[in-house]
């Protein structure tokens, strides 16, 4: 929490002003009872009506001043808290943009989203409250005590007694309630979980005829939650009455002892009335402080989550002195590459070596989990290799800037991902300054033009968030067009034709051929028919190369390849 608030530094002047303004406002609030006691003691007792008017006017001025200070403080605190939220959000977002996929895997996308949005909103809210209350409450408390003492030091001893009693009773009830509140949250989570399981598994539950069982499970969780909730609320029911009793009894004590002191001539009636009001202010501010104590732990949990994000340093960083590749375009080499995901026992890839030249198509095939996609994501340096090296145009990818490296690659992921915006925007994502001509051409090659033209606004049709208004196959074609428009040196297709039907697949691949003549193509595929005419097929099995060569060569040398082929092709086609 404190760590986050360090970033408040640029606002220190505003915060200082807020402090001053809140201070002034608290003072004006405290000054009013004093003025009132003057009215009583001087005006009323002496029957001096003009004096009453004069002080009355003065009080109004003080109240107005207080209000102005408070409004100004509200203005500043809104600016500070808003600015804090803005800079935090921007910092976290920028930081996360630099993460590699590894860090994304570590925290999870959903969690990162909540951290960037909800958690920051949470801390911002607490900051606002703190700026308003956390300063004013102690000030009112201390100010009230000072004023009370100045009115009558001896009578102030009552406050010395009251404050611990009040604080103690709040602490006691909170101490009893807090664990129950936590237990309640756990039980609420459980109830929600049962309900969610009921919803996601509805077909299974009904088909196994276990509705009754689920009903009982829910009932149990519901009952558990309800009984805890009743207990919490019954304890909390004592909170207000106890506080009221303490406050009211204090008033009575003040009147009693004050009366005694008035009798002895140590004090005046107006002072007594002011004193009562001071005592109230002190106690109210104590209650406010206790509310802050409730809020802070919640916010600090959020703050801790934000800090966790900020403290992660991306594994992948640009080299200090970047090397630029001079020779050729599109030469790719894997040199004895080994890679493991963090925490995994087995390396996802080990001992991978091969080279690919422009104009060549390299296909990668293998079972699920054999490391095909992983291999592909090493090329744009989504992950760093553990051993060995990946070279593009003769330079280790770790020695280039990520920008330069990725500019050479046209990447088409397994799961086509589009952004909100028009279709043209989405294709242009591959090349910022692409002309309409280039976009149309890319769409043509990707076999997307036909369905685009069938849409109402053609290339200007809007894509909804997540691309939900186009089909899987259409998404994939757009995602291919996006890579094509770049005219990259290296194409990396990660099982990108899977959602296409046979005809489109064939058309697309023949349209691709002239375009990729000078480029290096890497292609991950499941279907043997897709990879059969590649210049080089790499067969992966559990992260190792089980065979490398053309279809013909592999049919003779590789058992794994033969196995894959025979499971997919009919006898006559194998030959």
């Amino acid at each position: 929490m404190l760590k986050l608030f360090r970033s408040l530094k640029p606002f220190w002047l505003l915060i200082l002003f807020t402090f001053v303004l809140v201070f002034l406002q608290s003072m004006s609030d405290l000054y009013l009872p004093t003025l009132m006691s003057d009215i009583v003691d001087k005006g009323i007792i002496e029957g001096d009506i003009p004096y009453i008017w004069k002080i009355g006017g003065f009080m109004l001025a003080v109240a107005l001043g207080g209000a102005i200070c408070s409004i100004a403080a509200s203005y500043l605190s809104a600016k500070v808290a808003g600015g804090f939220g803005r800079s935090m959000r921007s910092r976290v977002f920028q930081h996360v943009q630099n993460f590699s996929l590894q860090e994304f895997d570590k925290l999870g996308t959903a969690s990162l989203i909540t951290r960037t949005t909800n958690d920051i909103a949470q801390t911002q809210q607490v900051l606002t409250m703190m700026l308003r209350m956390m300063i004013s409450a102690p000030m009112m408390c201390i100010g009230g005590i000072i004023m009370a003492v100045s009115k009558d030091a001896k009578l102030s001893l009552i406050i010395v007694v009251i404050v611990p009693v009040l604080a103690g009773s709040i602490a006691l009830i909170a101490g009893m309630g807090m664990p129950l509140f936590k237990a309640m949250q756990v039980k609420l989570d459980k109830l929600n979980r049962v309900l969610r399981e009921n919803l996601t598994g509805i077909r299974v539950i009904r088909s196994f005829n276990r509705i009754q069982h689920e009903q009982e499970r829910f009932k149990e969780a519901n009952y558990d939650l309800t009984s805890t909730a009743v207990r919490v609320n019954k304890i909390m029911a004592a909170m207000m009455p106890i506080m009221m009793i303490v406050m009211n009894l204090s008033t009575i004590a003040i009147v009693w002892f004050g009366g005694l002191r008035i009798r002895d001539g140590h004090m005046q009636v107006g002072d007594l009335m002011a004193f009562i009001q001071y005592a109230m202010q002190i106690m109210f501010s104590l209650i406010m402080v206790s509310m802050i104590f409730v809020m802070v732990p919640r916010a600090s949990a959020s703050a801790a989550r934000i800090n966790e994000v900020l403290s992660i340093t991306p594994d992948i960083d640009d080299p200090l002195v970047a090397q630029s590749s001079e020779e050729g375009r599109g030469y790719l080499e894997f040199r004895d590459v080994t890679f493991s995901y963090p925490g995994a026992e087995q390396p996802a890839l080990s001992g991978i070596s091969f080279t690919a030249k422009p104009g060549e198509t390299t296909a990668i095939i293998g079972g699920t989990g054999s490391g095909k996609s992983t291999l592909l994501s090493l090329i744009p340096r989504f992950y760093d290799v553990a051993e060995g090296s990946v070279l593009v145009d003769g330079v280790d990818v770790r020695e280039m800037t990520q920008e330069e490296l990725r500019a050479k690659i046209g990447f088409v992921p397994q799961k086509a991902l589009l952004f909100t915006g028009t279709i043209a925007d989405n294709i242009r994502y591959g090349k910022k300054d692409a002309t309409d001509e280039e976009i149309r051409e890319a769409a043509d090659i990707a076999q997307a033009t036909e369905f685009i033209m069938n849409m109402k606004d053609g290339f200007e049709s809007e894509i909804a968030q997540g691309g939900n208004n186009v089909s899987g196959g259409q998404k994939q074609r757009l995602s291919i067009a996006r890579a094509l428009v770049r005219r990259p040196e290296i194409y990396a297709f990660d099982d990108s034709f899977s959602a296409l039907d046979f005809k489109t697949d064939a058309k697309l691949r023949s349209a691709l051929k002239p375009v990729t003549r000078d480029a290096t193509v890497l292609l991950v595929a499941q279907r043997v028919s897709t990879v059969m005419d590649a210049d080089r097929i790499i067969v992966l099995d559990e992260g190792r190369i089980a065979g490398i060569g053309t279809h013909r060569e592999l049919m003779e040398t590789s058992d794994v390849y033969r196995e894959i082929v025979s499971s997919q092709l009919s006898e006559e086609e194998i030959a």
Binding site: I49, L60, T109
Partner: protein
Amino acid sequence: MSEQTRRPGPPPGGPRHPGGHPGQMMPAQKAKDFKGSLKRLVGYLRPRRGTLIVIFLTAILSTVFSIASPKILGKAITKLLEGVIAMAKGTPGAGIDFTYITQILLILIGLYLFSAAFSYIQQYLMAGVAQKVVYDMREQINAKLSRLPLKYFDSRTHGEILSRATNDVDNISTTLQQSLTQLITSIVTLVGVIVMMLSISPWMTLILIVTLPLSFIVIKAVASRSQKHFMAQQASLGQLNGHVEEMYTGHKIVKAFGRERESVEDFNKINEKLYSSGWKAQFISGIIMPMMMFIGNIGYVLVCVVGGIFVTHGRITIGDVQAFIQYARQFTQPIMQTANIANIIQSTIASAERVFELLDEEEEVPEAADAAVLNNPKGAVEFEHVRFGYKEDAMLIEDMNIDVKPGQTIAIVGPTGAGKTTLINLLMRFYELNGGAITIDGVNITHLKRGNLRSIFGMVLQDTWLFNGTIMENIAYGRAGATNEEVIEAAKAAHADHFIRTLPDGYDTVLNEEASNISQGQKQLLTIARAILADPSILILDEATSSVDTRTEVFIQKAMNDLMKGRTSFVIAHRLSTIRDADLILVMNQGSVIEKGNHEELLAKGGFYADLYNSQFSGGSIQEVV
């Protein structure tokens, strides 16, 4: 660190704002039929009428006592001042009447204790009532959910249903617990305070009441001004969240195309907009408190001045002024509170309405009174002139006739679509037919008890459903009352026993919420074990084994083959061998059955199946069939 699992997504109703009520001026959620829903909500309270009356009485008493006390305290102060003035004037024998003051103070102590006791009783009782009402409501929702047809669940997101059952019910609970009694006490306080003030001095009361319209004007003016900013803030917040979500989920693409800088630029633009509307909304809503305080202070000053003058004229006593000041302080609070509560009640009624909507949904067609039970189903399935469509005007299946003998295998093939679900929906009577009939062993399924019908079937699907519990419990789910031995037996038959034993806690391993502590393939083995334990006569099976390692895949296929032996099986086929050997192949496209027959027949026909076979099956593994 379960923060992301705990949040059930943004509620469509958007009940309360997190952390207090900063948005007390936000437009409240309006109910469509306020009166009707309110009446119905009140209906829930009716059985607890007795307790509620006690609650209201104690609330009123406690408030009345606390309202009476300032005036009584004022008397003590008056006595003090009288004594002082008398002493000042040097009246012989003058002094402060302490016996009187003691009396007053003792009465006050009594009042305060009573007031506190009553307020405690009221809160205490309300806790019971509120939570029990909510308990009943949750039970009703859950019971209702179990009676709703699948159609309801398929046409809505889980988040939406969950939000009704949790957020909306929570909203009602909080309102019942806090706002209801608050409303009563606020109104009683307001009336009581006005009465007390009038009894002290009608003139001073008038002065104070004059400040009232002033506060309304201020609230109104500020609220209408802040509304605009709140709306702008909400809009940019939505935009910002959308951008974050999109950029984070598309992180790979952003990286691959080197667009980090643009993404950050866009973010900063939205962020800037959010800031500018956010701080304005915050500021303007922050103005309300000081303004109200100022108006309160104007009243305070006027009371002091006018009261002071009145005291000097002897029209009222000093104690009355003290009491009046206390009343004046209590005066604005209930007004603000009632305004706030009015908003809360509106959103509560809107919540209640959403809950009632759910409770009013149409239920499954009830079972016939004389519903039959098939005790030893053989597994003969017949479709007779079946017509079906999810929408009346778009039939997916027109006049389908198939006759499946016990033990036969029916393969279902075709490109991705709704085929698989449709079949399950019809066989298990999750959806009702539009025409024709499905019979099992000659009995129309609509004449069977639902529970009996569903126990005839066993399902092994790709999207495995496991719940948060031990592996033992998850498998035992297949049959109520299965013994541990039977479970282990089933696991062995499903080739799952081995992997389960390698887990640290064996069969007692607890699957976590997403069941992410075992692999996808292992999950599939568990669901197969579950189906084996259930020992159904008819199977619905999905052969797809995506994201499964080769070794597990072999196990799964073996287990499935064993399972299919001797049972009528509907298989969503992915393997050539299954398709070729099937007794009947149903070719589905976009949810409807377009061809049927066996492999040779269909190939000879040269239709869709032949196309599909030639383009896909011969050319590679069958991708995502059905």
